[in-house]
């Protein structure tokens, strides 16, 4: 109780001291705290600070050049060539070449790449594939394909993370990852001199540190956004870009689409939305959110227990295991889903935390960008079911989604936002299209 009061009091004082906006100042250290691993995909906060992709999404979700300055397709999207930005160097001074890019891309996806071949020709990086790749430029903006130096000029593997981004990793000590400004960043030197990321910090401790001025930016999980607003934290949220979905195996009894349909009918999305996630984001039964597609409401979200029983048809499914990606609210959501399924006659057991392989997996998919076709392809890629999405009109995309969802291998549940709370020193903080904070464009009021 006292802790909550203390946090509120500190933020009230901070708000009273707010000043008008001037041009951003250079200098200072941004202190960030996160609950997880800052290098973890897809939303690890350090990744986007240290690495760049060939392409990138701007805050509105539009595709923009990054390490590639232009690209063009050939042979009906079966071949793409990307022209590299000249004069870019990795943090250790190694020049960015098409060869270093190709090496990085090959390391990033090894055998499971959305292309058959990638090769370096002069300043060009050329991708070819037997299937059409209409959304490759958008796919290359995703976190998986950020460019890292795999070997320096001497052929040796660089020590630590080596990218071309606005910050370079400088130290990791006592649970704090230190990043230093890249003075020669191709996209301009960041405003802050350095960023300190304190890792594996509980949300409660993060908020307390923010209130006491020991942190400038902390995380606010979707289910705690309401609480953060009540405590008058300065909260910044992304649109609902994290799709929470149940990925269903098609092995054994689950090979029967009716059994998978019974699982879909048994899940109570409203309870997840109302109780677990505190009415943040939106309930969904579609892959793309309503704001992106405009037709999400066509997929019914209501629970139908009778239909679930009917579809299961008295079949004994044996024991099903349910694994959950993440902790906290995700585990609670998993438990709630297991309860829903037991009510429909399924024998569901929760897999231990950390186990990834199971009959049912509660997962998060990132939906970024404003191109629904590319976003849909990205979800399929993340679900290990990559098939090119060539549909462009809303009517065609709707039919495509309908076809994908009818086989019930992905049961979508809730679209959630990502949230952050910032201290009074922070200014011009924006959330990128992938939901991570753009710390390179952030400055501090008291920097001189």
């Amino acid at each position: 109780m006292f802790r909550r009061f203390a946090i509120s009091f500190v933020f009230t004082l901070a708000a009273l001291g707010a000043t008008a906006r001037t041009r951003p100042h250079y200098g200072g250290t941004l202190r960030v705290e996160v609950a997880g691993d800052p290098w973890q995909r897809p939303s690890g906060i350090a990744r986007r600070l240290v690495y760049d992709g060939l392409t990138q999404l701007d805050p509105s979700g539009a595709l923009q050049p990054a390490l590639a300055i232009s690209w063009e397709q050939d042979n009906s999207f079966h071949r793409w060539q990307f022209r590299l930005r000249p004069g870019v160097r990795f943090h250790d001074g190694t020049v960015l070449t098409s060869a270093t890019v190709v090496a990085s891309l090959k390391a990033s996806c090894s055998a499971r790449c959305p292309w058959d071949a990638v090769k370096a020709v002069g300043p060009l990086v050329i991708f070819t594939n037997d299937s059409s790749m209409p959304n490759l430029p958008a796919l290359l903006a995703s976190d998986q394909f950020l460019i890292a130096l795999t070997a320096n000029a001497d052929g040796k593997t660089p020590a630590g993370a080596m990218g071309t981004g606005p910050f370079q990793a400088s130290d990791f000590k006592n649970g704090v990852l230190a990043l230093a400004a890249n003075e020669n960043c191709w996209s301009g030197r960041p405003f802050a001199d350095s960023v300190e990321i304190r890792v594996h910090r509980s949300i409660r401790d993060q908020w307390l540190d923010l209130g006491l001025g020991r942190a400038d930016l902390v995380e606010v999980p979707a289910e705690q956004l309401r609480q953060a607003q009540q405590q008058r934290l300065s909260v910044l949220t992304s649109p609902p870009i994290v799709l929470l979905a149940l990925q269903v195996s098609d092995a054994g009894l689950l090979a029967n689409v009716k059994v998978r349909g019974a699982i879909a009918a048994a899940v109570d999305r409203s309870a997840l939305y109302n109780v677990i996630f505190q009415k943040q984001g939106e309930v969904t039964a579609s892959l793309l959110p309503q704001k992106m597609s405009g037709y999400s409401f066509l997929f019914p979200t209501a629970r139908d227990l009778n239909k679930a029983h009917e579809l299961r048809g008295g079949l004994a499914t044996g024991e099903l295991t349910l694994s959950v990606e993440g902790e906290g609210a995700m585990q609670l959501a998993g438990q709630r889903i297991a309860l829903n399924l037991r009510e429909a006659g399924f024998n569901v057991q929760m897999a231990p935390v950390g186990v990834q392989h199971s009959d049912l997996m509660l997962r998060k998919f990132l939906i970024s960008g404003n191109d629904p076709s590319a976003a849909l392809e990205r979800i399929l890629w993340d679900a290990d079911a990559l098939v090119p999405v060539t549909e462009q009109t809303s009517a065609d995309l709707y039919k495509r989604e309908q076809t994908i969802l009818e086989n019930r291998k992905i049961i979508t549940l809730v679209d959630l936002p990502l949230g952050y709370a910032s201290g009074a020193r922070i200014r011009d903080l924006r959330v990128r299209a992938d939901g991570t904070p753009d710390l390179a464009g952030t400055s501090m009021e008291d920097a001189r």
Binding site: T19, R21, T22, R23, Y26, Q64, S293, Y295, A395
Partner: protein, 425 residues
């Protein structure tokens, strides 16, 4: 007989009036922006359902105003009726559920046609409209915003996402400095079409800035960007070549000081030049000619003429303080605590004669501009705040000296150039 004639005349007039009203209503509906999508959707519904009766419901999930929904429903009903589908009858087994929706790119009208247990879906796209409002003031000076026409790239696409550092109208063309090039635009059809582009290899910065200064004769310009100086000149093309082909722009690496303001007579040479720190995006405080006092690093400067003669130099410091330098003495200005970093001095002739237009936002999502008079050591508001449609990323005095030019980046990251005039109220 006479009474009969009166009755016939009155009847004719009434019929004419009713006819006009009906025709007017019909015309009004045919002119509605929703007529075409309503007809298209009704056609698709009729193709699925065939002639008959169906219960129609319309709901709105879009940004269309609630007041417009009844007229949209009426349009759909009429178009359905024209195709043999009668909307109404709660006893009908068929139902049409129309949802007026939208996504990031367009409006989307979706119809779910329900026949028994079967539901079929059809949808049409509807173009989205835009509206903008201009705020006015009622104080001594009124700031009026005028948006410059949109910029169109040579490829035909808009270039609203390219950061604009500075712009000026020269020789009937619009010269725009982006962070990587200087482009010349020609006016056509109410828009500026890019006709020439000259690469500029300035050092990229997070808060990139630039100055574009037309010469007094209006035939050429000098441009300054971090680490780069460019000069452009225009000569009338020979042999009937296109008017816009006469531009030549040459750039070179340079650390020369930038002109930070003109003297009161805009035709004369820059009154003050300042060295720019390209790695930190501010002026270092070292100026030429020397004005007799060591200046702190600053973002913007201006010159305010004094009624008694002479002038004061106004500085928006990196530390957030606004100060004047007059007679070799630097003094802080009161009443400027909520100023932003950019300022433009305009000679409106109203109020105190010269105003300083400055950006000011506090914590609001969008910036605003306001005119201040500085008769002594206090900034006195002379206009109401003029709301801008986003963040003001650059602000400078226009060539005429009577208005300011502002570059605004809206929430979607798109840039536009606005001319802001100070008018007497």
């Amino acid at each position: 007989m006479r009474a009969m004639r009166v009755v016939v005349t009155v009847a004719l007039v009434v019929c004419w009036a009713i006819g006009c009203t009906a025709l007017g209503a019909q015309l009004q509906q045919s002119q509605s922006p929703w007529s075409q999508p309503a007809a298209e959707l009704a056609g698709q519904i009729a193709d699925i359902l065939g002639p008959g009766q169906a219960q129609l419901t319309v709901r709105n999930l879009s940004t269309i105003q609630a007041g417009e929904i009844p007229s949209i429903r009426k349009l759909i009903e009429q178009d359905l009726k024209a195709r043999g589908v009668l909307a109404g009858g709660t006893e009908s087994a068929n139902a049409i559920r129309v949802t007026l929706s939208e996504n990031a790119r367009e409006r989307l009208w979706v119809a779910e046609v329900i026949e028994g247990n079967e539901t079929r879906v059809t949808m049409v796209h509807v173009g989205a409209g835009e509206a903008s409002a201009i705020r006015t003031t009622n104080e001594r000076v009124v700031l009026r915003k005028e948006k410059m026409p949109s910029l169109v790239a040579r490829s035909g696409g808009t270039m609203r996402d390219d950061p604009i550092l500075a712009a000026a109208e020269i020789n009937g063309h619009l010269v725009v400095m982006f962070d990587d090039r200087i482009s010349v635009f020609s006016s056509a059809g109410g828009r500026w079409i890019e006709s020439n582009s000259f690469a500029m290899s300035s050092k990229l910065a997070r808060d990139a800035r630039g100055i574009l200064l037309p010469t007094a004769d209006g035939g050429s310009f000098t441009a300054y960007a971090p680490g780069t100086q460019c000069s452009g000149s225009y000569s009338l093309p020979l042999n009937g070549a296109a008017q816009d082909s006469g531009w030549t722009v040459r750039c070179r690496a340079s650390d020369d000081p930038w002109p930070v303001y003109q003297s009161a007579d805009a035709s004369s040479a820059p009154a003050l030049k300042a060295f720019y720190n390209a790695a930190r995006d501010f002026f270092t405080g070292v100026v030429t000619p020397n004005i007799g006092v060591d200046l702190p690093p600053f973002y913007a400067a201006g010159m305010i003429p004094r009624p008694a003669g002479g002038a004061a130099v106004l500085l928006a410091g990196v530390d957030g303080k606004v100060q004047t330098v007059e007679n070799g003495v630097m003094r802080p200005i009161a009443g400027a605590r909520d100023w932003g970093s950019d300022l433009a001095v305009v000679r409106s002739g109203c109020g105190m004669g010269t105003q300083v237009i400055t950006s000011s936002s506090g914590e609001a999502a969008n910036d605003s501009l306001r005119a201040f008079g500085i008769p002594a050591l206090e900034a006195i508001p002379e206009s109401n705040a003029l709301g801008m449609d986003g963040t003001v990323t650059a602000l400078w005095t226009a060539q005429d000296g009577k208005s300011a030019m502002a570059v605004v980046r809206n929430g979607a990251g798109e840039y536009e150039v606005d001319r802001v005039s100070a008018l007497c109220n």
